[in-house]
Assembly symmetry: C2
Homo-oligomer: 285 residues x 2
């Protein structure tokens, strides 16, 4: 579809080396959003294709959705609605955020905003946090206890992931990590499909070995896989960024980047050199 | 079941004049919770039955659930989960709390806590508030804009109810109030069944004249009525107070009141005189 075009304003469609090879006219990719896992960065760099993104756009919407999913899991809202419509009045004894331990893996823009919602809105919440090695310590907050990932798996009532999908975060959460969780605990993925191994998650949820999960992102989207049959999950359609204000600002900003490129002006948000370096390191592994 | 007993630790079971008449030994009712709509206050008073309640117990749990329901409605979490399991990947463009107007009717303990969650956790949220005439002005907060109810109906993106069920709040929300709402707006009832007229709500939701509703409380519980067939609703099972910490503290406190009564000590939380006066006024109408 993009063959013959010089600039593409891109969602999360895969722009692989193969796609790039078929688009010899392509000069710029303006991503609507923050994730770069859909673009072959090294191939784009090799071909001299300029790349912008909108790193701030989706964060507020993803952070708010995550707060909602935490309450949903702790109080079993979606599951109760489903049960009630199936004729079962089952009152669930849940927990409050304010008396829970929330484990946040990834404390960049989104993880940081989430923590602000939680600590300001729900006093006494306990936050355990862990971040990518290259970002550790970037965010300081007296409410955050920095711990290793294993402590997060073992102690959290809800674990929520806010890391990008890279070679080092792919399959970050597999059976062995899930097995460390408490039987009452929940896990949320509003980051990217592939960070949580879906087969392992479905298996451990079917066992009832953990309390539940809320999954907004999938290895293959649209999703129609086995989690659709697993009832102790809340499933949404990659809607983290899908609020009217955030989508509008992201789409307008990506379009402005395209216009800047056409005018020969620099991007306001070029993909930084560090992202290419990371991709190069990963390619070597 | 309570015939022959002197003290009853009571949930929301109706303790009507008729029930009281059949329990000549009854000397004290210790309510687990805050609502008094289930007890015939004037009959209890006439018969000299002492009455305690746990007004602070459920509030934190109800306020947190309401935050979750606001996000659920604004982002259509439960509806999206249902659609996805039915094979439909439908990404919904929602709204953020921080750019929404939340209308709070009833700013007592629960409404006040809810407002604290919202204004502290989600900066820039706009709060419109209205309270019972006898409570107006009790809570002051710079983030609250006090308005009449009609302004709340017309301007809110989400309306949430936190008033007790009394003769003056029964059927507070009927077709004519719902008709004032914007077609995208939502309404939440975590207070008591009967405050929103269920038939009118089901009808207007079926029309699509408003965006949706989250209903935790019903005129008759367990609920199995027509809202179960209305898909733009989130339905839960009177679970506002159902967190482990709040239920435990409420049940322990009601039991302590019963023990105090047995020992001839005064209640810590007797139902205040103002509640009897209100009931007497209502009986005259």
């Amino acid at each position: 579809m993009i063959r013959g075009y010089e600039i593409v304003i891109a969602g999360t469609e895969p722009i692989t080396a193969d796609v790039i090879a078929q688009c010899p006219d392509l000069k710029a990719i303006c991503r609507v959003g923050i994730g770069l896992d859909s673009v072959d960065l090294l191939e784009a760099q090799r071909r001299g294709i300029a790349l912008s993104f909108t790193p701030d756009g989706p964060s507020p919407a993803v952070a708010e959705l995550t707060v909602g999913l935490i309450v949903d899991l702790l109080r079993q809202v979606t599951a109760t609605d489903r049960n009630l419509r199936n004729g079962s009045w089952a009152r669930y004894h849940g927990r409050r955020i304010s008396e829970s331990t929330i484990g946040v893996i990834g404390v960049g823009r989104i993880g940081g905003m989430l923590i602000n919602h939680l600590v300001n809105g729900f006093p006494n919440v306990r936050i355990l946090a862990n971040d990518l090695p290259e970002r550790t310590g970037r965010v300081a907050h007296e409410a955050i206890t920095w711990v290793d990932k294993e402590t997060i798996y073992r102690e959290s009532d809800v674990i929520t992931l806010h890391v990008p999908l890279t070679a080092s975060t792919q399959n970050l959460i597999t059976r062995s990590e899930l097995a460390m969780m408490k039987p009452t605990s929940h896990i949320i993925n509003t980051a990217r499909g592939g960070i949580v191994n879906e087969q392992d998650l479905a298996a451990i949820l079917r066992d009832g070995s953990i309390g539940g999960a809320a999954i907004d992102v999938f290895e293959e989207e649209p999703y129609a896989g086995p989690l659709c049959e697993v009832m102790n999950t809340v499933l949404t359609c990659h809607m983290g960024s899908m609020t009217q204000d955030c989508r509008a600002s992201m789409e307008i900003e990506a379009t402005r980047e395209a216009i800047r490129f056409m005018k020969g002006e620099p991007f306001v948000s070029p993909v930084p050199e560090s992202e290419y370096e990371l991709a190069a390191q990963m390619a070597l592994l």
